[in-house]
Amino acid sequence: MGHGLTFDVAHLLAGGLVLVSFLMITQHRLYALLNAFALQAVLLALSVAWQANVQNAPHLYVTALIALLFKGIVVPVGLHRIIQRLGIHREIETVIGSGMTMLAGMGLVALSMTVMLKITPTADPLAREDLAFALSVVLLGLLMMVSRRNAVSQVVGFMSLENGLVLAGTGARGMPLVVEISVAFSILIAFFVIGVFLFRIRERFDTVDVRAMDRFRGERR
């Protein structure tokens, strides 16, 4: 089914994003998780740049650059320093085992492929399949947030979810630059707030394990 290099490269990059999301789910160590996140951001930047090439939309190059710089360099380095100052570069505890997490991830990918391809039978094939991959990345990011105990890894899951949203946005045509800048700034603010929050939690409770924080929630009825 030779429909050319465009389809194939776009699909390869989107599939690579799904692959790296899987990789992130299975990482046990925080530094490796951050490296995987940086890799995901690089792949996202490449994918957005390819879409800019294909759709002849030069503003997407700026999006790609923002993704590369911000999520590929600034966020991982920042989280790296937070982890060092929090002193929590130990192993992550997952709520469910690694095998079950991978199986759940597979199920989510199957679900998103089925849903996306079923409800858009008449759309452009390139966009449909890219959207399916993007939905998979979003769901896998959510799965990461749900299956982790450590607050930092939940933040990383949230950011990978946002990567999926950017992939979806650039896959469909016409995502304006204004929106991207505002999204980027809101992420920056959220990042600062989460960082400050994490420090406060750590100061107060000596831990960022969310299970421990459950104990301080107040009276149960």
Binding site: M1, G2, H3, G4, L5, F7, D8, V9, H11, L12, A14, G15, G16, V18, L19, F22, T26, S98, G99, M102, G105, M106, V109, A110, M113, T114, L117, P125, E129
Partner: protein, 318 residues
């Protein structure tokens, strides 16, 4: 005429596979040594090791059964037949239609079956540990391999390896996501099945880190030579498989001229050198995993194969 040429290609491939395997093993060892700033043994050292082992007396445990003495030949035969069916420098193999990819995997499974039985034959704890760990890795690596084969077979619409290679080298396929996933999965499975780092250390003799070495602990002399040769041939098989599927452009088609076959041969040697070098770099850069982290690693290959198959079921163009 084509019949004669295919027969010649098949026979030459069988000889090539057997003679190049120790060379590949020696090359990988030499590269690893150089990367670790050592001199390392010469590249032809495995040939010398095999000759030395052949000349030595075999010491067999008192309670060894006939399986212990017959297993090396069966392991070698199964691995050699499987390797003779994977195209190395040409795809016009006369007997390629007698066994497809699934049969090649099953032949390797037979070899593993007998190796595990040979490990359990003497009744030592080492044989048991090697056999049980080997079957654990196999219980994940073999389904992963089968699903990867499914992915390739769904793209090529056939499980016959020559047909897959012909289709992939015809450049109508393009860079597909599912093939990309299959490639990563196949690399992981190749590492797991050949007992390289991070799955098993081929150079170690520490008990609790061995899988393959533990099963062959009691072997000596000519039996050990056959098993070592079979292991080298298996490594060659997997590298040839990765080469012929994902880098198929140097292979000569059936019935082409002698010069294209010679070009194919040169291309094959180049591929062996390249993949051997990459294997050496990978093994030097990464540490061996704990045994119970292996299911995550090999399970990842299983998931990749499953994902590739699922993508092809859902949409033929992926």
């Amino acid at each position: 005429m084509e019949l004669i040429s295919n027969l010649l290609v098949q026979i030459m491939q069988m000889m090539l596979v057997l003679s190049a395997a120790p060379l590949l093993t020696g090359f990988v060892r030499k590269m690893k040594a150089r990367l670790q700033r050592r001199q390392g043994p010469p590249i032809i050292q495995p040939y010398r090791d095999l000759l030395r082992l052949l000349k030595k007396e075999v010491v067999v445990a008192e309670n060894a059964s006939w399986i212990f003495r017959v297993a090396p030949y069966l392991i070698f035969a199964a691995t050699w037949v499987a390797a003779a069916l994977v195209p190395t420098f040409a795809t016009g193999l006369l007997f390629s239609w007698s066994a497809d990819l699934i049969a090649i995997i099953a032949l390797l499974a037979s070899a593993r079956f007998f190796l595990a039985l040979a490990g359990m034959d003497i009744g030592t704890a080492f044989g048991g540990i090697g056999a049980s760990r080997e079957m654990m890795i196999a219980s994940l690596a073999e389904p992963a391999m089968l699903l990867i084969v499914f992915t390739m077979a769904l793209v090529a619409r056939s499980t016959q390896l020559s047909a897959v290679v012909d289709l992939l080298s015809a450049s109508g396929v393009g860079l597909r996501v599912s093939l990309g996933l299959a490639m990563v999965g196949l690399i992981i499975v190749a590492i797991a099945e050949n007992g390289r780092i991070p799955v098993d250390n081929p150079a170690t003799h520490l008990e609790l880190t061995m899988v393959h070495e533990a099963m062959v602990l009691e072997y000596s002399g000519r039996h050990l030579a056959m098993i070592e040769l079979a292991a080298s041939v298996k490594l060659l098989l997997y590298i040839s498989l990765i080469g012929c599927i994902f880098v198929p452009w140097t292979l000569a088609g059936p019935g082409e001229s002698t010069s294209s076959h010679l070009a194919g041969f040169g291309g094959y040697l180049a591929k062996l050198a390249l993949f051997g070098f990459l294997l050496a770099v990978f093994e030097t850069a990464i540490a061996k995993m704990r045994v119970f982290r292996l299911p995550d690693f090999v399970g990842g290959a299983l998931m990749l194969g499953l994902l590739g198959t699922l993508l092809l079921f859902v949409s033929r163009s992926l």
